[in-house]
């Protein structure tokens, strides 16, 4: 500081010295002193510029200027607390909304894989799609061919996720854990260095069933082993098979699954011993497509090159193995594409909420831009003065932008607070599962960085145009008087546009929220189509304790029999999946006589495997034919129940009972339809009517099933007695997902859509608040500039009412045009929403609710300043200035 000051003084002295000497010289040459001094100044040139340039030579100027700008900016903002508060709060709302949204989007979609250089990793496989959900899968044999024949990758890995019974001691009861079977190159290709011990060796990737070794996930290591470093070499049991711990994964690697923490990793060669399927060996059967493949692209290889190479390999496979590989192409997707395709509704939801929050940010920026523009004439004098004494325009724009930046930073900090509230709100989203979730809404480094970027962008967004406009000042006019110039038509035009846009946007947001709300409540009022009360669920997977196939089916039979005879149980049934559950199954069918379009020979539809009591217990009514019976056994003819949608699609106008379809492929077994079940909502409260197939458990044995117990009394009261029953059958059998259907339904079907409605509504309200502030500000500003005119009008006899009407007219025109534009945009938005909320039609009630409310509120925002203007005392108004 000292040094800088001295240097500054020295420069001042130098300049003064020059001018003094020059003046003396001029006087000596005969000029009068006054003139001599002016001539000296002219000769020297613009003093401020010279000083600036000299300082620039010193270096570090930009930093000093920045500090200077910040100091100046802080003073300017402190001088106008009202303006500052409104601007900061507006920005806080906009930035906060985006911060929370980012956290939401990050958890749902964006967070990258926790592997080395995740951007190089792509997903490879055959497309399986089911009602728009499409993923890439492969069999182990296909994977080997892709791996060995392709040259585009620095390694291809394959893995499959599942739940296992994991026991830390020989005799300890097994716990359900989520784990991956992975190929031997998995850790190396993904760039994951074990924190402890080692990854898999190449020879552990060769012999099926030989190497029972596993690498613990960091999470499970801390949870089950208290992060014990002597854990290497310990024996544990997975589904009853003894495994040796050889390593621990590092903390930053949480597995390939986006939503669940992976507990441990085993060599894929252990798959046959763990899979319990006597019919086919997963390492041999080309039609067991249970693997996910990820590949690391070689530097310089594009996705389309990799795609082309794999496609030619797949073509060869189709020729070599027509039975299993016909029409099985291959696709390569980036991680992002793969995620979006896997669940388009999730991606759409993220996109919708992101778009809405960006809209809120735009409204906020428009607000602040409007405020800044309206301060332009107030500041014109200051700016003009600074231009006159030699400040560059660029420098002034920078100064003004620095003020914007300060506002944005303050707004950003306040926005983090708002954002955190939003994140807390999102955290109320519950996912019913017993497995450790890694899906979480965080205000982490990524969210902070994003918010910072949003704040900086918004500073430019709202600051640049007003800054340019403010510095485009007519010096002479501005210096003469700050406020006497008539309101520039063009300048107000911009603000009018901003405010009308704000009104339009908030109308869209409110309309969308109301629309969704009404859609959801309509769907909810229609009922789920099945019983949600007096039902308890609990899930079993006897494979976790190493049951054989027949033991498993025996166990399931015993569970229902015993459950049914338990006091308090009205009926009991088994089902593979529960409506709205995370676990849904699909089946491939070829309906008899149905002509598929060219290139397609079968269709994937959602399917469930149930026992003969399912429909009665869960209360799904059978519209035609019959439900499954105890006489449908493994040896009797194959039967199925379809829902009304399937019947309508494949046998329109006919009786589907007795019709047949082939299961799986052209050589698959014939299955006869014996019943048609009512269509219910299977996955999502507002889904489109979905085709659905039911298969009997007796003919399609499953490894894991959920018991549905209908109670006479309180469903949760059945928990203890049913636990007792299972315990009596097998004390070591793990039970998961013990829940009442009511609770489950509330979490999945009610809370989630409600949360969406609340999110959108909150955005709408934020948008509206901002629009009101904008409108109020504009009308007040315009009225303020017309004070003199209003005074004259009143002096020559205008009534207060007339003035009120005159000022309000402006607000009304803006509000109406905003509403007009908003209505048109809302119709468009509604169209988009139909993909998320099916069965809803254009809903005029929505507009009947939203439009008058919006009109009323905007009128109020215009009325207050208009009233103030009409109360102007003509004497004071005329004397003003």
């Amino acid at each position: 500081m000292k040094f800088r000051q001295r240097r500054e003084e020295s420069l001042d002295n130098e300049v003064r010295d020059y001018i003094d000497r020059e003046t003396q010289d001029n006087i000596a040459a005969g000029m009068p002193p006054e003139e001599a001094r002016h001539a000296a100044m002219r000769k020297f040139g613009p003093v401020q510029n010279v000083k600036e340039e000299t300082r620039a030579v010193w270096g570090w100027v930009w930093f000093e200027r920045l500090a200077q700008d910040f100091r100046h900016g802080r003073r300017m903002l402190a001088k106008n607390p009202g303006f500052t508060v409104v601007a900061v709060v507006s920005l806080a709302i906009g930035i906060g909304a985006n911060c929370a949204t980012f956290s939401f989007a990050d958890a749902m979609l964006l967070r990258p894989l926790t592997v080395l250089r995740p951007s190089e990793v792509v997903t490879v496989g055959t497309v399986v799609s089911l009602e728009g959900f499409s993923s890439l899968v492969a069999s182990y044999r296909d994977y080997i061919d892709f791996r060995d024949q392709s040259k585009s990758f620095d390694g291809l890995v394959a893995f499959t996720d599942s739940t296992y019974g994991f026991a830390t001691e020989r005799d300890a009861p097994p716990q359900i854990r989520f784990a991956s079977l992975v190929t031997g190159n998995f850790f190396r290709v993904m760039g994951v260095q074990p924190e402890l011990g080692r990854g898999f060796r190449p020879e552990e990737d060769l012999v099926p069933g030989r190497d029972a070794v596993l690498v613990l996930g960091h999470d499970l290591w801390t949870q089950d082993f208290a992060a014990d470093r002597s854990v290497l070499g310990r024996k544990v049991r997975v589904n009853g098979i003894e495994f040796t711990i050889i390593g621990v994964a590092p903390e930053r690697f949480s597995g390939m699954n986006r939503f669940l923490q992976t507990g441990f990793y085993m060599p894929i060669m252990m798959w046959p011993r763990l899979s319990h399927d006597p019919k086919s060996n997963p390492l041999e059967a080309r039609d067991r497509r249970g693997l996910a493949i990820k590949g690391r692209l070689k530097p310089g290889v594009t996705i389309s090159q990799a795609q082309a190479e794999l496609a030619s390999i797949a073509k060869n496979l189709e020729r070599a193995y027509p039975d299993t590989n016909r029409n099985r192409g291959v696709a390569v997707r980036t991680e992002m594409e793969a995620r979006v395709q896997q669940s388009p509704p999730d991606a759409q939801l993220v996109a919708m909420i992101s778009a809405l929050s960006l809209a809120v940010l735009l409204v906020a920026c428009a607000n602040v831009a409007g405020l800044l523009t309206s301060r332009a004439p107030v500041r014109a004098r200051e700016i003009a003065l600074r231009l006159a004494i030699g400040a560059g325009r660029y420098r002034l724009i920078r100064q003004l932008l620095t003020e914007s930046l300060l506002l944005a930073v303050a707004g950003g900090f306040a926005g983090l607070g708002f954002g955190y509230l939003g994140i807390l709100f999102f955290r109320r989203l519950q996912v019913p599962t017993d497995l450790p979730l890694k899906f979480s809404f965080e205000l982490d480094q990524r969210a902070l960085l994003y918010s910072l970027a949003v704040a900086l962008t918004s500073a430019v967004l709202f600051g640049l145009a007003p800054a340019i406009q403010t510095t485009r000042t007519d010096l002479v006019k501005a210096l003469r008087s700050a406020t006497s110039d008539a309101p520039g038509r063009r300048r107000l035009w911009g603000r009018n546009l901003l405010v009308a846009g704000q009104v339009a946007l908030s109308l869209v947001l409110l309309a969308v929220a109301t629309f969704i709300y009404r859609g959801v409540s309509h769907e909810l009022s229609q009922g789920a189509g099945f019983r949600t009360d007096h039902l308890l669920t609990m899930s079993f997977n006897p494979a976790l304790v190493n049951y054989s196939e027949s033991q498993t089916q025996q166990f399931f039979r015993q569970v229902t029999e015993r459950a049914r005879s338990t006091p308090g149980v009205k009926s009991a049934a088994l089902t593979f999946s529960v409506p709205y559950g995370n676990q849904q199954d699909g089946a491939t069918i070829l309906p008899e006589g149905y002509q598929f379009p060219a290139g397609k020979e079968n269709v994937n539809i959602f399917a469930n495997t149930v026992d003969e009591n399912y429909f009665a217990t869960i209360g799904i009514s059978i519209a035609r034919g019959r439900s499954f019976l105890a006489t449908d056994t493994a040896t009797s003819p194959r039967v199925a129940v379809v829902n009304e949608e399937v019947a309508k699609h494949y046998w329109p106008g006919q009786n589907p009972i007795g019709r047949r379809f082939r299961l799986d492929d052209r050589n698959g077994p014939w299955v006869q339809i014996v019943g048609v079940a009512k269509t219910i909502k299977y996955l999502w409260i507002a889904e489109a009517p979905t085709e659905f197939l039911y298969l009997p458990l007796s003919q399609h044995p499953q490894q894991q099933m959920t018991l549905l117990a209908e109670s006479f009394g309180e469903a949760s009261a059945l928990t203890a007695p049913l636990r007792e029953v299972i315990h009596g059958l097998d004390a070591s059998q793990p039970i998961s997902n013990i829940r009442t259907m009511e609770e489950f339904y509330r979490m999945r079907a009610v809370n989630t859509p409600n949360m969406i409605v609340q999110t959108v509504a909150a955005m709408g309200v934020m948008g509206l608040v901002l629009a009101i502030v904008g409108l109020y500000g504009l009308v007040a500003y315009a009225a303020g500039r017309r004070t003199r005119e209003i005074g004259i009008r009143m002096a020559i006899g205008a009534q207060q009412n007339m003035v009120l009407r005159m000022v309000m007219r402006q607000g009304l025109i803006l509000a109406l045009s905003g509403i007009g534009v908003g209505l048109i945009a809302s119709f468009g938005a509604e169209k988009v929403l139909h993909s998320l909320f099916h069965g809803s039609q254009t809903d005029f009630v929505t507009y009947l609710l939203v439009v008058p409310a919006l009109l009323l509120v905007t009128m109020l925002a215009a009325y207050i300043p208009a009233r103030r203007a009409s109360r102007v005392d003509p004497m004071i108004a005329l004397r003003y200035e």
């Binding site: 020295s10 420069l11 002295n13 130098e14 300049v15 010295d17 020059y18 000497r21 020059e22 002219r42 000769k43 020297f44 040139g45 613009p46 003093v47 510029n49 010279v50 340039e53 000299t54 620039a56 030579v57 010193w58 270096g59």
Partner: protein, 120 residues
């Protein structure tokens, strides 16, 4: 003086101004005012610049170590900042001088044929 006027005079290239300052200081230490007038008079008023623009150049040369600045007292007992050539500056001047001569000769060679063609 506005920028419009400046364009009609010879635009002083930055390096040229530096060189002129060094050349001026060859005769001994001087303060800003004196340097400005020396340059102006030396060039017989052809090279006219706002004298203020000299100061950034002076400070730049000080920073480059080609000249040094010292507070001192001038003829009439006034305190002023005196600039003088450093050894490094002297060397630089010599180098620039020969460079300048080569440059002017080169330009002269290029310009001459045009004149000859113009006057057959």
């Amino acid at each position: 003086m506005s920028t419009e006027d400046l364009k009609t005079k010879i635009d002083l290239l930055q390096g040229t101004l530096d060189m002129l300052i060094l050349r001026t200081l060859l005769f001994g230490p001087a303060h800003g005012h004196a340097i400005a007038h020396a340059i102006e008079h030396g060039s017989e008023d052809v090279l006219q610049v706002e004298h203020g623009s000299l100061y950034p150049a002076l400070h730049r040369l000080v920073k480059q170590g080609l000249i040094s600045a010292k507070e001192g007292t001038s003829e009439n007992n006034r305190r002023a900042k005196f600039y003088s050539l450093t050894v490094k500056g002297r060397k630089k001047l010599t180098a620039e001088n020969s460079k300048w001569e080569r440059l002017t000769q080169a330009i002269a060679r290029i310009m001459r044929p045009v004149e000859e063609e113009g006057q057959p």
